[in-house]
């Protein structure tokens, strides 16, 4: 898969009915001139009305930002549940068809997306993740911020 422009990814995200957003440790660490990656995660979740599997320590912050359907999860558990024959994880009633990864370092994102079987994956980081079905391209932090802004605008 080649890197996608934010607007292309927005179309992809909107087209999926059963998507699950996963928010990782970097959401609490990356700041763009006063706006954190967690803020962007909250905006994406709200715009698409997505359930959020808040991994690492992101659950508290997302709730504080008004995200409604958020629950603390472990990233590797979600990847494991997806491959199972029956989806019983209570965060969504149906098995997600798309997992959206935001806030994972490239190493973590590669590890997680490469392990997913039975759903498509989107990596919303500043590094292109070839193991994901869809990914933003390589970008500086400033470009990355612009990508996120464009993505949210297009949702």
């Amino acid at each position: 898969m080649s890197a996608k422009r934010p607007s292309e990814l927005a179309t992809c995200l909107k087209s999926k009915k059963r998507a699950l957003l996963l928010t990782g440790a970097l959401c609490n660490e990356l700041n763009f001139d006063g706006k954190s990656l967690l803020d962007y995660a909250a905006e994406i979740a709200k715009k698409l009305k997505l359930p959020v599997a808040a991994t690492a320590n992101t659950a508290k912050g997302l709730k504080e930002r008004g995200v409604e359907k958020v629950a603390k999860k472990y990233a590797a558990e979600i990847v494991d549940f997806i491959r199972g024959p029956e989806w019983k994880e209570p965060i969504t009633t149906e098995k997600p068809e798309l997992l959206i990864f935001l806030g994972y370092s490239p190493k973590v994102a590669r590890g997680l997306t490469s392990g997913v079987k039975g759903a498509e994956t989107v990596a919303l980081g500043n590094v292109y993740i070839k193991e994901a079905n869809y990914s933003l391209g390589d970008a500086s932090l400033k470009q990355y911020q612009q990508n996120l802004e464009q993505l949210i605008k297009a949702l």
Binding site: G24, E29, T55, A71, V79, R83, K88, G111, S114
Partner: protein, 842 residues
């Protein structure tokens, strides 16, 4: 068979060892020894106990396959194309390969290769020291685990070879290590020819077990022949503060102006020889002896003036910092371009490994004075394969070499370099394995100076990925190293040296305190150096130990834990907690090899609690141990290949493993358990021989986490076992909830899965839990008690039915291996339980 004795008497029973061992030829003596010295008659009468001397992986597959059935391997960072043979390449994503290999099988092959690589790095070191010991002391030289160890104490040597615990000599160790080496060759071969994923993953477990034999061997030699600390030679009553917290480490504790010699990696022998010479010559006060990685941990066990500096993962930064006049290096768990860094700072390298060179001239046969002369004159280093000669050279060079020059960037140069940083680039951030915000910090250096890098420096491994990618060729690693100068004076910690093994007499003493609800659990901590947040390991150790965990630590993790300083009590962590194997104690067993003591002592439980002898009897030992205790292992930080089989050894014993943070996701294979899938969670009730559902415990066998808060929370719930008794479960659940609330602001989603009765609910949260069980999960509650429970099959059942049908309350003896059913038809003994069951039926 000849005239060799094959029968013996056990109490009133006769044991024919040809019936308990598949092929007795050549191992009659050790099998007879195990039966006569460690078997218990009751156990023999009730169970089909067997002995597998010099076990093959296939001998243990009945247990391995159970683990892999419940915890299905999850492969990440997968490779689709196999290039293992000339008939390939075969793309496995679209079907089988030429040899029938499937995608999963190939991933398992890669997993096994990683395990074999990691195992080899230990075996080489063990073999080197064993060969040296045999040469110096002779094959008949006795070795000992210590005065308090007896036949019933477990070692991986006994567990897999059946070689007796008592009366061992170097020839026995040679026999054990040769077996492990031969197994490793088989496993390496299978990693290119095997096709069955589950079988191959079983072999990964086996590689871990063989690695542990290598560690047993090296620890026995070090303690028996080189005087390293051995707790088994001391009274249990001493252990609360033994060994004393008398080693100070960190750059801030290295006295300026003194010559500095640093030992790095698996260089125990050289460290021992040099330290002894320093003692003999009265030079201990005049020279600073430092250690990086396992060398520092080993030195602490016999030379209290050692200054452990850093784990292997951060070795490169220490080398480039330029504190050492002489570096003694050898093979280790990590590969580094040592000369690249030492040449820059003038450190002379004595390379001592016998298995590989790092580009230095082989001076093994040169005269000592000639080598010294060349090194003092400026030669970067020498490869010397004779330990005594290398030690002599190292000491002489240390006393003569004078290094000159500034090794680190000045403030002005650093600022000038930082000014080159492009505003809109961030490639260093994108390529940093720890995702450190280096670009932002470097841009700050241009304004504020080198101190702006302080936080980034602490989390940097010194891998240099940033240097390679920087389009402006900024020497980023030099900037980071320059910033260490600000932190170095305050880089101090206090370490309790490793204690070595734990005899059964000591571990038995805390059986009651741990079982009766005074602790949420036991935790083993390992790691090859901290992660991007240098304080993580210390924080984790403190949080767990302060919560009454029994915390064990070994290897480079011990040095990282030692940095934890409590501002309230003004104490370093090893001063704050006791050191005996008991609640709220922090026990350091020693260097990386000494981690084997943690697993050895833990796996003694089947002997202590169930009378099962471990000799050549892994499956039965693991079945009992995994179901009863098997404390979790937490592995933190950067993870070289050696950690892969170490983790496999723990997992094979039924100990769940939590790995983290970033580096863990680089791993190829995890063993998660799906807690929502009730089909996976069962045991045989060994009395009725029927399957019964149990709660998902332990939830996972190998699982990665992202943060330290996730780590302690996961560890806590993974202490739970279906056979654990009420009070232990109660405090564990309470701690799980509280860790979760503190870190994530919410209750864990799976706590109801671990509820079996009202009595196991923590008092503090009981009312809330009962309400939630009733409102959200359909249980029936009456006042402060559960009246009817939701069985995993969906039925609402009364509590007696729940107890009779679910989990392991009320004396159920669980097993996953049908061979472990007690067999009253064959044996002549019936338990009161069996008699009772039959009477009830009639």
């Amino acid at each position: 068979m000849g005239d060799k004795k094959t029968k013996t008497v056990l109490g009133s029973s006769e044991v024919d060892i040809t019936k308990v061992c598949r092929d007795i030829r050549g191992v009659e003596d050790i099998v007879l020894w195990a039966v006569e010295n460690d078997w218990m008659e009751n156990r023999f009468q009730q169970f089909d106990t067997r002995i597998f001397p010099f076990t093959d992986q296939a001998d243990v597959s009945e247990w391995d396959s159970h683990l892999l059935d419940r915890y299905t391997p999850l492969y990440c960072n997968t490779v689709e194309t196999c290039t293992d043979c000339p008939l390939g390449p075969c793309n496995l994503s679209s079907g089988k390969g030429v040899c029938g290999l499937e995608f999963e099988g190939y991933q398992a092959r890669l997993s096994l290769r990683k395990a074999c690589r990691g195992c080899s790095t230990q075996m080489v070191h063990s073999r080197e020291l064993l060969d040296y010991a045999i040469k110096v002391f002779g094959r008949e030289k006795e070795v000992s685990w210590g005065a308090h160890h007896d036949a019933s104490d477990l070692s991986h040597i006994g567990l897999f070879t059946c070689i007796p615990m008592g009366g061992q000599n170097l020839a026995d160790l040679d026999r054990a290590l040769a077996y492990a080496e031969a197994q490793l060759v088989k496993l390496s071969s299978a990693s290119f020819t095997g096709t069955d994923a589950i079988e191959l993953e079983g072999m990964v477990f086996h590689a871990g077990s063989m690695l542990m034999i290598g560690k047993d061997v090296i620890e026995l030699i070090k303690m028996s022949l080189f005087g390293l600390t051995n707790a088994s030679d001391h009274e249990v009553s001493e252990m609360i503060d033994w060994p004393e917290v008398n080693v100070v480490g960190g750059l801030g504790n290295v006295e300026p102006g003194k010559p500095v010699i640093t030992f790095m990696g698996d260089t125990f022998l050289l460290a021992y020889l040099v330290a002894n010479q320093l003692k003999e010559k009265g030079l201990t006060e005049k020279v600073e002896v430092c250690g990086i990685g396992p060398a520092g941990d080993d030195l602490a066990r016999f030379y209290e003036r050692v200054r452990p500096l850093a784990p292997m993962t951060k070795a490169r930064k220490i080398l480039r910092y330029g504190i050492s006049d002489v570096l003694v290096g050898g093979s280790s768990c990590m590969n580094l371009d040592i000369l690249e860094d030492t040449k820059r700072v003038g450190t002379r390298v004595i390379w001592v490994s016998r298995d590989k060179n790092i580009g230095l001239p082989d001076r093994t046969d040169s005269f000592v004075d000639d080598i010294v002369k060349d090194l003092v004159a400026g030669a970067p280093g020498a490869w010397i394969r004779l330990p005594e000669k290398a030690a002599e050279v190292a000491l002489k060079v240390l006393q003569q070499v004078k290094r000159k020059g500034d090794y680190r960037l000045s403030e002005e140069k650093a600022k000038a370099e930082a000014k080159k940083c492009r505003e809109d680039c961030d490639l260093c951030f994108s390529n940093c394995p720890n995702s450190l915000l280096l670009s932002k910090a470097v841009q700050q250096v241009a304004k504020e100076g080198i101190k702006a890098l302080a936080e980034v420096e602490k989390g940097c491994f010194g891998c240099g990925a940033c240097v390679k990618i920087c389009p402006e060729n900024i020497p980023l690693l030099d900037l980071i190293v320059a910033s260490m100068e600000k932190r170095a004076p305050g880089d101090k910690f206090k370490l309790r040296p490793g204690r070595g093994p734990l005899p059964r007499v000591e571990t038995s003493s805390w059986a009651f305190s741990s079982m009766w609800g005074n602790t949420p659990g036991i935790c083993h901590l390992l790691g090859c150096g901290d992660a991007k947040h240098e304080e993580d390991l210390g924080w984790i150790a403190y949080e767990l130990t302060a919560r009454n965990f029994i915390t064990f630590v070994a290897g480079c993790a011990a040095g990282e834990v030692a940095r934890h300083f409590n501002e309230k009590t003004k104490k370093y962590i090893f001063d704050e907690f006791g050191a005996e194997a008991n609640l709220r104690n922090l026990i350091n067993t020693g260097d990386c090899a000494a981690c084997v003591h943690i697993l050895d002592q833990a796996m003694k439980w089947p002997r202590t609690g169930a009378g099962a002898s471990h000799y050549g009897n892994f499956a039965e030992t693991a079945d009992i141990y995994g179901n009863l205790v098997s404390p979790p292992l937490l592995v933190w930080g950067a993870l070289p290949d050696r950690m892969y089989p170490i983790v496999a050894a723990w997992a094979r014993g039924g100990c769940p493993v939590v790995v983290g943070p970033e580096s863990a996701f680089d791993w190829h294979r995890f063993l998660p358990g799906n807690k929502w899938d009730w089909k996976r969670w069962w045991y045989y009730d060994s009395w009725t021989r029927k399957k019964r559902p149990v709660e998902p415990a332990p939830k996972h066998m190998i699982i990665p986490v992202e943060t330290r808060e996730e780590a302690v929370t996961a560890v806590t719930i993974m202490c739970q076992r279906p056979v654990a008794i009420r009070d232990f479960r109660l405090i564990g659940l309470e701690t799980y909830v509280e860790f979760s609330l503190a870190a994530f602001g919410e209750w864990p989603d799976d706590w109801p899965l671990f509820v079996r009765s009202s009595w196991e609910l923590p008092v503090r949260y009981k009312a809330k839990m009962l309400r939630e069980l009733a409102d959200k999960h359909g249980w029936e509650v009456e006042r402060l008690n559960l009246k009817r429970a939701k069985h995993p099959d969906g039925r609402l059942v009364d509590m007696e039915t729940m107890q009779n049908e679910f989990s392991c309350m009320g004396g159920v003896y669980p097993t996953r291996v049908p061979r472990m059913f007690p067999d009253p038809e064959i044996r002549n003994y019936k338990t009161s339980y069996e008699i009772g069951v039959k009477e009830k039926k009639s």
